[in-house]
Amino acid sequence: MRSRNIALLIVILALFGLTLWFITPLDRSVLGRDGLRLGLDLAGGSYLIYQADVTDIDPAARDETMRGVKEIIESRVDALGIAESIVQVKRFEGEYSIAIQLPGIADIEEAKTMVGLVTVLEFREWGESEQEWIPAIGTATVNGEQKEFVLSSRYFKERTFVTLDDWTRSPLLIFEWDEIGRQLSQQITGRLLGKQLAIYLGDEPLLDEEGRPIAPTVQDVITESGQISGLGLPTAQMLSRFLNAGRIPVPLGRWVGDEPKVFEPGVPLYERTVDATLGRDSIDKSMLAAGIGIVLLVIFMLVYYRFLGLIACLSLGIYGVVLLAIFKMVPVTLTLPGVAGFILSLGMAVDANVLIFERIREELRGGRSLGAAVEAGFNRAWTAIRDSNITTFIACFVLIWLGGELGALMVRGFALTLLIGVALSMFTAIVVTRTFLRLIVGSHVVSNPAAYGVRPIGTK
């Protein structure tokens, strides 16, 4: 019996050491890039869901098209160097949607435009009657049919590159027209010789290094390829990467209204964007709260249960470390409600210990020996521990289902941490606390009942 307990103790200590090693170094990376995975409310970042307007796509080809959209967005996100981003295709109300998680970015707005949805460069001409820049429209023959098109980077070949001008050493974005682009460009530049052609990125004019709109004067009829000058080097390189990553074949936005539904391009169905500073602030606040809560908990346990409380705190320490290691291994994305779930599970992890200790104290008061009281305490507390935790499991499973639905990321974070926490707390109470207690009771180091919070027998 004793050798089995020592073996168990060694296993527990080994597990503790291993998990501690796994989650260290504690000082900097527990919460952060190499530590626990943080959700957007703690790391800052953005979570966006767009619906795709696939009405123009053959129903049989829609799945394939959406996979393509996902890949294009992924490659753009990669080009931005965003770590741990997740792009998923989802179905919502029978419509295709795409969910994009961009954690830990400093400039969300820039990232959004870039991932975006609007990396189409559009060429515009000055409309005399409208008194504003209007899209330059030309006609082209596709499959024997004549159609009108807006001149834009949609008709670039996906092999743009950036080079430096031989004379001025300023960056040039070089592009080639595809078949449609060639026809359009020939017509439009022919028509606009000597006039300006403005370049727009989405609805905003493309700006040069000094912040002026780029609107070169057409010098020649352009058919094959062209260049855009005046851009800053980083902007030129970024644009080039995005243009080469491919364009998104379907409009992204959201459906609004009942029948008839109207498609609003560019507006997400769901968006949560958190500034990284707020995330940092939330981490600090929850760490403080967790710290204060744990200190109160430890004081209470020590004062009330004395030596047993000390054992419970040790076992709780192991619980905390193993739990963090599990979070890191799975990995669980830690959100603010997730932290609340973690803290709640700490409070509840004490419950199993309290149940057992109360039983042990009852047995001691009943006049049993320490060893017998510990064994009886564990045996008799077990049914209550098992039966009572099942209800928490039921609640967690229902919540995880609810959280799996669109938009409820935070719900899932809470439920998952609470579920793992409660499951692990049963293990620590039954295995860790018991092993500690058996060994100490067996060694007769601490045998005064007062140390267990019970008056010695015979005193009242």
């Binding site: 707020l278 403080l288 709260a289 908990l297 209470f300 709640l344 009572s388 609640a395």
Partner: protein
């Protein structure tokens, strides 16, 4: 030994009062706001932004509200989150429009205004979330009832035990919903998906407590400690009282720390949990177990404590 069972009329009276306040709040809310609880954007669709206002002179909630209304957002709800942070809830606006709003506010208030948390939920998503939340709560309640009936299947009347536990659960949910309906009326607090999450967690906790006490009653019945069922229940309550109090206390320590220092973002979520732990502990000792006794003895009159005690 404390006599819990003998005081059960008082417990029922307290619960009736709390439930009555809850019903009143829910009804007034239904009349005034067209929903029993003030619904947040998770359930209605809309935008919430956390505005960080940095200024030499302190900007008050009233000042900010006046400017927001002047900019055409008269339906907006604003809450002061402390330290110059304000949470604003309004109709669906894109992040570009929200940034324009922040810019306009900065000019109007002569302060720096930054949006640090932007949250947009389209109506379609909100409608579905509301539907799912309803289903989730229903599934959870039914699953708990089945579980308890199963857990106490060897007792003489398992259905009694399950029903008493579920009535206590409904009691907890009702009171918490009532408190939030009241908060919605007096402090413009709205419920969101996290409220439902907290409620379900609380349901788990409350049943957990009830099960521990029922477990002890089951054990004490098997040991035949008293021929009187009321006496058995009372002994079981006294036996488990320290455990219930200690567990509630340790859980409250960590939750109160989170409520006081954890920041405004999850404040109301944590409040649901805090209320749930308190009410859940109360109801397992003073409601579910007492109902068992009342049912067993068929002393229905004690459920209505204002009625005349039978001679």
């Amino acid at each position: 030994m404390i006599d819990f069972v003998g005081r059960n009329r008082w417990f029922f009276l307290v619960s009736w009062i709390l439930v009555l306040i809850g019903v009143l709040s829910l009804v007034v809310s239904q009349v005034r706001l067209d929903a029993p609880l003030r619904l947040g954007i998770d359930f209605t669709g809309g935008t919430s932004v956390l505005l960080q206002v940095d200024s030499d002179t302190e900007i008050t909630l009233g000042q900010l509200r006046a400017e927001v209304v002047a900019l055409g957002y008269d339906e907006a709800r604003i809450q002061d989150a402390g330290d110059g942070d304000f949470i604003m809830y309004t109709r669906e606006i894109t992040s570009e429009v929200a940034r324009e709003l922040a810019g306009d506010l900065a000019t109007a208030l002569d302060a720096e205004v930054a949006i640090v948390d932007y949250y947009l939920v389209s109506e379609a998503v909100a409608v579905r979330t509301a539907g799912n939340a309803f289903i989730a709560v229903t599934i959870a309640a039914v699953a708990m009832l089945f579980y308890i009936v199963w857990a106490f299947r060897r007792m003489p009347k398992p259905f009694h035990w399950g029903t008493c536990a579920v009535i206590a659960l409904a009691h907890d949910v009702f009171i918490i919903a009532g408190i939030f309906a009241l908060l919605g009326l007096i402090a413009e607090v709205a419920v969101d998906a996290m409220f439902i999450t907290g409620l379900l967690a609380v349901v788990g906790y409350s049943i957990n407590n009830t099960v521990v006490i029922f477990d002890r009653i089951r054990e004490n019945m098997a040991r035949h400690i008293s021929p009187d069922f009321a006496q058995t229940v009372n002994t079981s309550l006294v036996d488990t009282l320290t455990r219930c109090m200690n567990t509630a206390l340790t859980t409250l320590f960590v939750l109160l720390a989170l409520l006081l220092f954890g920041g405004a973002t999850i404040q109301y979520f944590v409040l649901v949990l805090v209320l749930g732990v308190i009410i859940g502990t109360y109801s397992s000792i003073c409601i579910s177990s007492q109902l068992l006794v009342v049912w067993e003895k068929r002393e229905w009159s004690s459920l209505l404590p204002w009625a005349k005690r039978p001679a």
